[in-house]
Structure formats: structure tokens, C-alpha cells
């Protein structure tokens, strides 16, 4: 079982290295899908495993049920984004241009290697027990995604990449300061360690003042990476400028893993200080994120930015859920991570195809998709329904569970505010989606004067299977109490709070 822990990083390394060379154009093309599939398989195998928690290399790698679940989420969301993001296979009878190179181009190889590196770093981040290694892995994803955000080139993509790297690195540097102070606290208590299991065990007499400062800084730092207000300003730029599959990966995987880091830090604070400090921080950040997202979604004119703000909204819901705490709310938070990751990755891919088909991301310029392009409109509507938290999709159950748990925990006013802000978001998203999807086709008018699709935005077609799979999983997962409910409860219990 322990050897399984080595599989995800090694697979990412090997596939990434293979994709970077000229060896095989097919490997370069499929590298992201391959690594994601390995992550999903490993995560599922680790989830099925009962018995002692597998560990490797002291505190280096460790997979409790929470880590295994996160690994499976990273794999599943990664699979959705990379598989659906594949350019359509060239038809066999279509002639190949004479000067077209058979091998993958340099940009394609770099893109493939960076995606593999990103997924590998995420796998290490969720399966390590050492908070220092967790930090290094999360920061490594900033490095891997920097060029992915700027992949399309042009001043706007460069501006987004610059802001993303500077804000992301500075935010995560604050988390490093927090991690360093946690290490100092353990060292002053007589047992220098960064091992999460030892820090939550309660066997070290950690100094309260020091832990308070350390936890506050660590939560603040990882919250920047998770896109929580007020440190969210890099997110809409980066998500709207990156290529669609990368936006999906960042929204569904990167934010989730940064949030996972907050959950781990929260557990330490709960043991040493009690829940007060982190609950206050998370509640403020969560409600703040919901408010920012609600205000900006209502007057959003760009559909990719709208999806980015919807990510901020969902991170806000997650932060509120984590602030509530307790077994029900935490299991709901994990269900929410799955549902949001799958739905958002699908939607970003669809948004990328809409951009390729229409040549614009402006909501007002897209009309009558349902009549003209049902292959784009149907997944868009279904995905939006999932994202808005309508039944039967998972997000409905997770949001209801979080609100009810918060009500019972005596946070009624915060839950009332959450529901009100969620309704505002629903109104904004429904209006924008309806205006894009409904309406007559206007084909003849478009042919005469409409904007021609701009080149360089990828393809407007692609595999539909991953979208169907991801959205169906989101639809049924809320009903599957066994084994999913059992897995969520075990993962929440791994935080030592249930």
C-alpha cells in the first residue's frame, strides 16, 4: 500500500519528461489525461484501503482518508479538464498540409509538460504530512501555471500572468511565514517538527501566542491562493486569460488544494487554541467572498470572468462551511469540493469552445446558442444548473447541509446572509446564461456582419464524453450514501474534528 504513495509523483515526472521531448506526439497530446487517470486510480485505491494509514519516508508522504479523497478529486477534475480540452482528432480523410510538422510543436510540448508538473505538485501537496513540503508543492503550482496563464501571449495574458505570479507568490510567502512560526513553536516546545500528525496530536506543549500568530498568517496566505476575499484580485484575471482547460484545472484543482491546506491548518488551531480564531477568520473571508462575487456577477459582461467570480463565490461557501465545522458541515464541504470541481471544469471547457466558436467572451455578443449550437448550449445550461445548486446536483445537498449545520451551530445570522447572497448570484448567473442561450438563430445576419471567429482560441469542438461523465457524476453523487457518504465521513473524521 505504501508504494502506491509514490505512484502519482513518479507518473507525473515520467509523463511530464516524456511529453517535453520529441519522442511521441501522442504522449505529448495525452499526457494530462494520463497523469489525471493515474491520480484518480491511486486516490480510489487508497480510499478503498482499510487499516493503518500508509506512510512513507517519515513525515514525507502520508495518505489518510482525506488525502486519498483529495487525490481522487484532483484526478477526477483533472481528467475532466484535460480530456475535454483535447483538440478534436483530425478526420482521416482530411488532407494534412504539406508543411505541417508531424511532431508536437515546442509550445505544445511545454504546455503538456507544465500540466503534468502541475498535477504532480498537486498530488504531492495532498499526500504529504509535512507542512513545509505542502507549502513547497503549492508554490510549485504557481510556477507551473505562470506560463500556462500567459500561454496565449499578448499584453492581456501577460498582465494576468504578472499579477498572478506576484500576488500568488506574496500571498503564499505569508503562509510560509506562518509555517516557519509553527515550526518555531514546536521547536520551543521541545520537539522540532513540521509533521501535521504530530502537531495535531496535542502531545507538544505549543505556545498559544505563537500558534495564534502562525495560524493566522498561514490561513491568510493559503486563502490568497484559494481566491478568498479580500485577496482574490488575481483570480478573475488569471482564470479569464488562461486557456480553457487550464482555467478549469486552476478553478477545480488549485483552489481546492489551497482550501485543503486551510483545513489542515484549521485542525491544528482547533487542537491548540479551540475553534474561535479560525472560525472568525473563515467566516469573514467566506461572507466577504460571497459579497464580492455577488456584486460583480450581477454586472459582469464577460462570460469567462463570470465563471471566475462564481469560483470565488463557491470558495466563499466552502469557507463558511469550514467555519461552521463539525462532521456534517465538513462532509458537506468535501462534497461541495467534488461537485464544484467537476461542474466548473466542464463549464470552463464549454466557455473555451464558445469563445472559439463566437470569437468573443462578451456575454451580450453571444445570442441564440440553443438554436445555432445545441452541442454548446446544452452542456452550458446543464453545467450552470449544477453550479447554481439546483437539485439533483451535489451542490444542492452540500449547500443545504452547510446552511442547516450552521443554523444549528448558532450562526443563524451568517447563514441568512449566505442564503441571501447566493440568491443574488443565482439571479445574475441565470440572467447571463439565458441571454446567451435563448433567442433566435440570426444565422443570415451573422453571416453578413457578425464577427468572424478569431484564430488562436483553440477548437470549438471536442470530446463530449468527459462533460457528460462529469455532469452525471455531479448529478448522482448526492444520492449515493454508500460508499460516497461513508467516504466523506471518514475523510472529515481524519481532521480529528468529528
Amino acid at each position: 500500500m505504501t508504494a502506491l504513495l509514490l505512484v502519482p509523483p513518479l507518473a507525473a515526472l515520467l509523463v511530464g519528461a516524456g511529453a517535453a521531448t520529441r519522442a511521441s506526439a501522442l504522449l505529448t497530446r495525452l499526457s494530462g489525461v494520463l497523469v489525471s487517470a493515474v491520480l484518480l486510480a491511486t486516490g480510489t485505491a487508497l480510499l478503498a484501503h482499510r487499516g493503518p494509514v500508509p506512510t512513507l519516508g517519515g513525515d514525507l508522504l502520508r495518505a489518510d482518508p482525506l488525502s486519498a479523497l483529495m487525490l481522487a478529486i484532483v484526478g477526477a477534475v483533472g481528467l475532466t479538464a484535460t480530456w475535454a480540452g483535447l483538440a478534436p482528432r483530425r478526420a482521416a480523410d482530411e488532407p494534412r498540409a504539406a508543411d505541417e510538422p508531424r511532431a508536437a510543436s515546442r509550445a505544445e510540448r511545454r504546455y503538456a509538460a507544465l500540466v503534468a508538473l502541475f498535477l504532480g505538485a498537486m498530488a504531492i501537496a495532498v499526500t504529504t504530512d509535512n507542512l513545509g513540503v505542502l507549502w513547497v508543492a503549492v508554490e510549485a503550482t504557481t510556477i507551473a501555471t505562470a506560463f500556462l496563464v500567459g500561454h496565449r501571449g499578448g499584453p492581456r495574458a501577460l498582465e494576468a500572468a504578472w499579477k498572478y505570479v506576484v500576488l500568488g507568490s506574496v500571498g503564499i510567502a505569508i503562509a510560509l511565514l506562518g509555517t516557519v512560526l509553527l515550526y518555531a513553536a514546536s521547536r520551543s516546545a521541545g520537539g522540532a517538527t513540521l509533521s501535521w500528525t504530530r502537531l495535531v496530536s496535542g502531545e507538544l506543549p505549543l505556545d498559544h501566542g505563537l500558534v495564534r500568530v502562525a495560524v493566522g498568517l498561514a490561513v491568510l496566505g493559503f486563502a490568497t491562493k484559494a481566491g478568498l476575499a479580500p485577496m482574490h484580485s488575481w483570480l478573475p484575471d488569471a482564470h479569464s486569460q488562461a486557456p480553457a482547460p487550464v482555467s478549469g484545472l486552476m478553478s477545480g484543482v488549485l483552489l481546492a488544494v489551497a482550501f485543503y491546506a486551510i483545513l489542515r491548518v484549521r485542525a491544528i488551531a482547533d487542537v491548540v487554541l479551540g475553534p474561535g480564531l479560525v472560525r472568525g477568520l473563515l467566516l469573514a473571508a467566506g461572507l466577504g467572498s460571497l459579497a464580492v462575487a455577488a456584486a460583480l456577477i450581477l454586472r459582469q459582461r464577460d462570460h469567462k470572468r463570470m465563471l471566475a467570480y462564481s469560483s470565488i463565490e463557491h470558495m466563499g461557501v466552502l469557507a463558511v462551511g469550514a467555519a461552521v465545522g463539525g462532521p456534517i458541515a465538513l462532509a458537506a464541504v468535501l462534497l461541495h469540493l467534488i461537485g464544484h470541481g467537476l461542474a466548473k471544469a466542464s463549464l470552463f471547457v464549454v466557455a473555451g469552445r464558445v469563445l472559439a466558436a463566437e470569437g468573443t467572451t462578451t456575454i451580450a455578443d453571444v445570442r441564440g446558442l440553443l438554436a445555432r449550437r445545441p452541442d454548446l448550449a446544452v452542456p452550458l445550461v446543464v453545467g450552470m444548473t449544477a453550479l447554481l445548486g439546483f437539485p439533483p446536483f451535489a451542490l444542492f445537498f452540500s449547500e443545504v447541509a452547510i446552511v442547516l449545520a450552521g443554523w444549528r451551530a448558532g450562526l443563524g445570522w451568517a447563514m441568512g446572509l449566505t442564503v441571501a447572497l447566493l440568491l443574488v448570484v443565482v439571479a445574475g448567473l441565470v440572467r447571463a446564461t439565458a441571454s446567451m442561450v435563448l433567442g433566435p438563430a440570426h444565422d443570415e445576419e451573422r453571416a453578413a456582419s457578425g464577427p468572424t471567429p478569431a484564430a488562436g482560441h483553440g477548437s470549438d469542438r471536442g470530446p463530449m464524453t468527459p462533460l457528460v461523465l462529469a455532469l452525471s457524476v455531479t448529478a448522482v453523487i448526492g444520492f449515493v450514501a454508500v460508499p460516497v457518504g461513508d467516504v466523506l465521513v471518514r475523510a472529515a473524521a481524519a481532521l480529528g474534528l468529528a
Binding site: I143, L158, K163, L177, A184, R212
Partner: protein, 236 residues
């Protein structure tokens, strides 16, 4: 371990003082090449700090800290300033300004802000210093633990440089000051992080600086300047 008069304490005080003075000078100076030289001095001071803590600490951790000190010297006193300096010279040759000319604060006002930041740093580091000084397994006990505010102050000055300056290279330098500040806190409170983590952190910092250098070259090529005020296309 170390008493107020010992050579180790004095060396730590000297290195911490040098770190603080160089950070303040960075706020004052506008010449970008001067700031790069100050970064080198900071790197050397950090290495001195690491060596002193290593030599005055328990023998078991001595070898590891000396290796870390060598790493700090190579990275922060040589490699990072070299990367920044090279990008700076290339930028100047391509017609970019060599001075920070669009700062949001004039030198006098920024020095007043630095004084305020130093006060804040002393206030917020009180619980840290006290916990570290009282702890049994601390690397630095006694007076040296009370140099922690210097590191916190450097972090705050790094922030000031990041928000107060408009050139891409100035922001990069601000990020490095912030990072040096975190390293200072790490050495003074915990004799540095474990070696494997230190290695990861160092390579992450190096890669971030390389990426920012490449991005600033591309921005200069596309926009014609690296004043970040020209980057306002993305907003709601």
C-alpha cells in the same frame, strides 16, 4: 547559550542591524542598480546570521546549518541579485528606465512610513520573541530572540516596496526583500526550517524570480515599458 556580551550575540545583532539598514536604504534609494547591490549585502548578512546561529547552537545541527548558510550565500548573495541585475541591464539597454520614477510616495514620506512599520513590527513580534526566548529547545535564546522584529519589519518593508512602486523590477526587488525577511524570522526563531524544506523553498524562490524576469522581458517587448500602470486592461 548566548549571553548579552558574547561574540555570538554581538554578531547576530550586527547582522540583524545590517539587514534592517539595507532594507531601509532600499526604500530611500531610487536607483535600481543600487538596490541590487543592497540585495547582495542582505544575502551576505543572512549567511553570517546562519553561520553564527549554527556555530553557537548544538553540535548536532551544526553541519546542516553551515550547508544552509552556504546555500543562502550562493542563492541570496550571488544568484538572485545576478539574475535581477542582468535583467535590469538588458532592460536599460533596450530603453527602459534605470530609476524608479513613478513611486507613489516621495522618499521622506516613505521613510516616515518605514518608521511606523518598524513600530508595528515590534508590537506584533512581542508574542513571538517571548515564546521563543522562553522555550526550552530554541536555537537562539536570550537577547538574540529579540531581534525577531527585524525580520518582521523586513517583511513589511517588502510589502511597502510592492505596493508603492510601479516598475516591474522594483516589485521583483520588493518580493525578494519580503522573502529575505521570512528567512530572517526563520533563522532567529527556529534556526531555519528543515533542510529538505529549505531546499524546496530556495528553488521555488529562484524559479519565481526567473519567471518574473522572463515575464518582464516579454511585457517590455509587447508594451514598450515595464511601468505597471500601463497594465490596466483587465478590470471589471
Amino acid at each position: 547559550m548566548s549571553t548579552p556580551g558574547s561574540a555570538a550575540t554581538q554578531l547576530i545583532a550586527l547582522a540583524a542591524g545590517a539587514l534592517l539598514v539595507t532594507s531601509v536604504l532600499m526604500v530611500w534609494r531610487r536607483e535600481l542598480s543600487a538596490q541590487v547591490r543592497l540585495l547582495t549585502v542582505q544575502g551576505v548578512s543572512l549567511a553570517v546570521l546562519a553561520v553564527t546561529i549554527g556555530l553557537s547552537g548544538p553540535a548536532s545541527a551544526r553541519a546542516e546549518l553551515l550547508v544552509v548558510a552556504a546555500l543562502v550565500l550562493a542563492l541570496r548573495a550571488w544568484l538572485l541579485p545576478w539574475v535581477v541585475g542582468r535583467r535590469l541591464r538588458a532592460g536599460v539597454e533596450a530603453g527602459d528606465a534605470a530609476r524608479e520614477d513613478g513611486a507613489r510616495l516621495n522618499p521622506t514620506a516613505s521613510l516616515v512610513v518605514v518608521a511606523l512599520l518598524a513600530t508595528v513590527a515590534y508590537l506584533v513580534s512581542r508574542p513571538i520573541s517571548e515564546a521563543v526566548a522562553a522555550g526550552s529547545g530554541a536555537a537562539v535564546s536570550g537577547p538574540a530572540a529579540f531581534a525577531v522584529p527585524v525580520g518582521v519589519c523586513m517583511v513589511l518593508i517588502g510589502f511597502l516596496l510592492l505596493v508603492g512602486r510601479r516598475r516591474a523590477m522594483s516589485q521583483l526587488i520588493g518580493f525578494l526583500v519580503l522573502d529575505n525577511g521570512i528567512a530572517t524570522v526563520a533563522f532567529l526563531t527556529a534556526a531555519g526550517v528543515p533542510f529538505a524544506v529549505e531546499l524546496g523553498v530556495s528553488s521555488d524562490v529562484l524559479l519565481v524570480v526567473l519567471i518574473l524576469a522572463v515575464l518582464s522581458r516579454r511585457i517590455h517587448a509587447q508594451v514598450g515599458s515595464t511601468t505597471l500602470d500601463s497594465m490596466t486592461e483587465l478590470r471589471d
